[in-house]
Symmetry: none
Subunit: 140 residues, 4 copies
């Protein structure tokens, strides 16, 4: 059998707080989703003004990053026309996200979960996702 380390609810709260702080700093209310290493949702927050369409997008970015152990923007590069993963964006009923804003959360080289951010530009989403991960790593 295997043993998996995974984000718990307290970890998720730390990550969300870190992301929320950055989102507030840059003035973009975000949807923030945290998944565990199985890709399953642990926690979610739609900040006041976060977009309705971003609820599912944030969850799916986090699902993609934790489940595939890869940042969503890496899929963005790999799925351009002519690139090897072209067409992957519509996989899993469209849940496979290739837009920036989804990051795996790794500890000691092991992916323990993910974060997904949506409502800003992809660049802003990624910046806020990074802040969430950093807040978690700082707390260890």
């Amino acid at each position: 059998m295997m043993t998996a380390r995974r984000l718990d609810a307290a970890d998720a709260a730390v990550i969300i707080a870190g992301a929320r702080e950055k989102a507030t700093e840059i003035g973009v209310p975000m949807c923030i989703a945290i998944t565990d290493e199985g890709g399953n949702l642990v926690a979610f927050e739609r900040m006041d003004g976060g977009k309705v369409t971003s609820i599912t997008i944030a969850i799916d970015k986090s699902f993609t990053a934790s489940g595939a152990k890869k940042a969503t923007h890496e899929y963005g590069e790999a799925s351009q026309p002519g690139a090897p993963a072209y067409g992957i964006a519509s996989a899993i009923g469209g849940r496979l996200m290739v837009v920036a804003g989804g990051l795996p959360v790794a500890v000691d080289g092991e992916v323990v979960g993910g974060i997904g951010i949506s409502s800003g530009t992809p660049g802003q989403d990624l910046e806020v996702a990074k802040a969430g991960v950093a807040a978690f790593l700082d707390s260890l």
Copy 2:
């Protein structure tokens, strides 16, 4: 135009805290979902040990309660074999939940959102949902 009041992120945190406290008291880790009056997710928490299958169930209970302005267990009674709403449980792609644990959140007779709880028995889910709503109303 119409004007609608709805739960914000701070309200959702209060409701989740109230539900979490009751869930801890009865010893059943729960999935807790909060939606606004349009049925859209505001916040979610899966307590450590909450069921993976309950993620969607909690979200859909909250969606049903806020969108239909009705407790999910009322649909349970109304959809028994031979009763008028028999068969409604599979509506909206199965999102229409008829099992206890989803409650609308109303202020001054106006539905402003909903809560959905899943991981325990339906009775436990309902008890925890009630505690979440009570915590919110006490905070007003």
Copy 3:
């Protein structure tokens, strides 16, 4: 080849007006959906206060009634435990509605479309659906 008569946009407006009038009379704001004989949506109105969850339910009741050329409550009877159509409610991804409120619209014994109503009790939904059909037949 076949020729099909079907409800057009002007017909749909007449049916919706008739349904709206009855809904207003009984004091229940409704979701009102009209489909053509192919089951495809022609028109929809969510009256102020109509339920968010009833949007899809009204559309699917109308889809069922026009596509199956049968009132949805007839499916309700036929799908009770032990009855021949037991289990049909979850067919077509849950779109097959067996709760009252969906009626085919027939002219000269030929189904030309359907109406689906949701937001009240099944009895109220059916009453409003009948009023919509009656308004159309009176207009011919």
Copy 4:
């Protein structure tokens, strides 16, 4: 709690009338969908000759524009190969529309709903959507 203004059924009728008039003027029967600020459908009309495939497309354009507070053609530009939002078109089960014809409806800088048009070229769809919004703003 938050307070949100949203399109009501009467507003939707004004917007649809404005869109229908423009569609008639340019000779392209359209599917016209109106959503509120939560992305939920308020009203829909398929003009005689509007495309069956455009029913869902019009609804999803309106959902996208109101939920994301952004015109769908802006997503079209941002999601070209190599651009930051490449791949977003298949998000939310394919509901995220990046083709022109979806516009948010804003009053005093606040998004109160959206309109989605489909059946013509993207340029025609956008033209008709603009006419719907203009008719509403003129009515205030």
